[in-house]
């Protein structure tokens, strides 16, 4: 591990990758530095590098060790970090995402409300009042990690994961909120709503609609506002659970 000023650490990640750590925790300042390096690498890739992948506080730079010289890439990335403008604006896009909260679309809304000691409507109000930043995509295809959740809505993960979380599910896990892009995989977060916007579409050249650095807000919507057929498909797949 080498230090390079201001808490920058270069961590080894094998013969085909390097991890550049730009801060300590999950916060907007570190995020801006991460975005600064990531965008710089996207706009002007270091010769030989393959991909740059942002995390909360780091950027992973990968290359094909058969074709590229790892030492050169490390040196060039280090130079790039030195040249990072301290307060480069994040400059992400602003995106409003309609969400149908509760019911079959958000089966965990009531549990989240009960735990937070709030009415479900108040959970929705606070969640939709948030101004979120896409910190990163990852773990699952198209999963969007958002920073900026109202701390009163924070909630430990589910003790046992849901077997199949549908695409577009908006969920809370720990102090974060996120959206399941691809869907179909198990998930440990509490699902409080769902959007009909196709955030993940492998038919697109770039399957993920949202990118790290984008600004997101949620707009409460009713199922009637969704495109024809969407709500019906949801209801068919997940009938409303009735008490008793």
């Amino acid at each position: 591990m080498e230090a390079a000023g201001e808490g920058v650490r270069f961590r080894p990640a094998g013969d085909g990758a390097l991890l550049v750590e730009l801060g300590e925790g999950i916060d907007p300042v570190t995020h801006r530095r991460v975005m600064g390096l990531w965008r710089s690498l996207l706009e002007r890739p270091v010769p030989g590098m393959a991909e740059a992948v942002p995390g909360y506080r780091s950027v992973l730079v990968t290359w094909d060790p058969e074709a590229a010289d790892g030492r050169r890439i490390r040196e060039e990335v280090a130079r790039r970090v030195q040249g990072l403008a301290a307060s480069r604006p994040v400059g992400g896009r602003r995106v409003a995402i309609p969400v149908v909260y509760g019911g079959p679309f958000g089966p965990d809304l009531e549990a989240v409300a009960a735990r937070a000691g709030l009415a479900p409507d108040e959970v929705v109000r606070r969640h939709a009042a948030g101004r979120y930043i896409v910190y990163m995509l990852g773990f699952l295809p198209g999963f969007v990690y958002l920073g900026g959740l109202d701390p009163t809505l924070a909630m430990p993960r589910r003790p046992s994961p849901l077997p199949r979380v549908p695409a577009g599910s908006v969920a809370i896990g720990g102090s974060q909120t996120g959206i399941y892009g691809a869907g179909g995989a198990p998930g440990g977060w509490h699902v409080i709503g769902r959007t009909w916007v196709r955030l993940w579409d492998p038919g697109r050249r770039r399957p993920a609609l949202l990118r790290p650095g984008d600004r997101v807000r949620f707009v409460p919507a009713s199922a009637e506002q969704a495109p024809p057929g969407w709500a019906e498909a949801v209801l068919e797949a997940a009938p409303v659970r009735r008490a008793g």
Partner: protein
């Protein structure tokens, strides 16, 4: 168009090529063959480019019927395949001419876990994001993003040469990959400093057993718990291929082709690129050890892998397009001398 009709999918048979890099920042791991060395060998045997789409067979293979005359080869550390029922054995590591209508059964993979069945012309399913590789968790690529099942029909591309001229190529035993008994070579991981001296000693000195929970996402290992200094949580960050995560129970999990692209477990080590093929062949119940190497050794190991691959390619390219030596037909298998 020639095709393979699936009569039985086998345990987990997927279409794989070299994978689809370029989407890590969107949360999508590249997928692709777990043993790229073996994929290349199988493809070259039938005259394909090294990275053409082939079938990755897991432990127990599929039953397939040729629609059209096809040239096929099966690469495996140890395994078997046969034509017809009850069946006549077909040779491994050899391009076989399989006549229209012949039923071919890939049996058990007896060493390693994965075998590669290549067809001249390649499996011609439509590419998704530039690759035909099946990504099971994302549900894309291959055939509808899933493993093969009875009733599927896999289109086969047009081979570079007519079937009669491709068949007969054979890779001699000394050029085939063999099960390697040495330790898996790793470099220090991004969070090696998150482990106590004792934890690091445990990782490098202990033997670990491959858990039954080993799949295309990763290989989970069982052994003495590896001690971390301050718990097993880090701020989530992107993962490199071959990352060795240590999960909350102190057990290592080596990430492979369908890895989660980010993760919040500390990574004690990273398997070097040259040893990823070996990782992809670890069999549940098998014992493994790890040894730390430096950058230079990793580079030498990769150069050695390239030399071995080049030797395979050179041998197969130098073979004149022979007569078909083994021909499988619906009526039986015969050898042409």
């Amino acid at each position: 168009m020639a095709a393979l009709v699936v009569l039985h999918g086998g345990l987990l048979t997927t279409v794989q090529d070299a994978g689809r890099p370029g989407h890590l920042a969107e949360g999508l791991a590249p997928a692709g063959a777990a043993d790229r060395f073996m994929l290349a060998c199988a493809n070259w045997l039938v005259g394909n480019p090294a990275e053409a789409a082939a079938l990755e067979v897991t432990l127990d293979g599929p039953v397939l019927q040729a629609s059209g005359d096809l040239v096929m080869a099966l690469a495996a550390l140890e395994g078997e395949w046969h034509a017809g029922e009850p069946g006549q054995a077909l040779p491994l590591w050899e391009a076989v001419l399989v006549r229209d209508g012949t039923v071919v059964t890939v049996g058990a993979v007896r060493q390693g876990v994965r075998a590669y069945l290549a067809v001249a012309g390649g499996i011609a399913v439509p590419p998704v994001l530039g690759s035909r590789s099946t990504h099971l968790r994302a549900g894309i690529g291959g055939l509808h993003g899933r493993a093969l099942a009875a009733g599927d029909r896999l289109p086969v591309g047009r081979p570079a040469e007519p079937p009669g001229r491709l068949a007969g190529r054979r890779l001699p035993a000394h050029l085939r990959p063999h099960r390697r008994s040495g330790p898996i070579r790793v470099m220090a991981g991004p969070q090696a400093d998150a482990f106590s001296r004792r934890g690091l000693r445990t990782f490098y000195n202990a033997r670990f057993r491959v858990s039954p929970r080993a799949d295309r996402m990763g290989v989970r290992l069982q052994g003495p718990p590896i001690q971390a200094r301050d718990g097993y949580d880090i701020v989530s960050e992107a993962t490199a291929p071959g990352s060795v995560q240590v999960t909350g129970d102190g057990q290592p999990l080596v990430l492979l082709a369908e890895r989660p692209t980010t993760g919040g477990y500390p990574k004690i080590a990273t398997v070097i690129t040259a040893d990823l093929d070996v990782m992809g062949q670890l069999r549940p119940g098998q014992w493994v050890r790890f040894v730390e190497v430096g950058e230079q050794e990793a580079r030498q190991a990769l150069a050695e892998r390239r030399r071995r691959l080049e030797a395979v390619r050179a041998w197969l390219m130098s073979q004149p397009p022979g007569r078909p030596l083994v021909v499988a037909t619906p009526a039986g298998v015969y050898r042409v001398d």
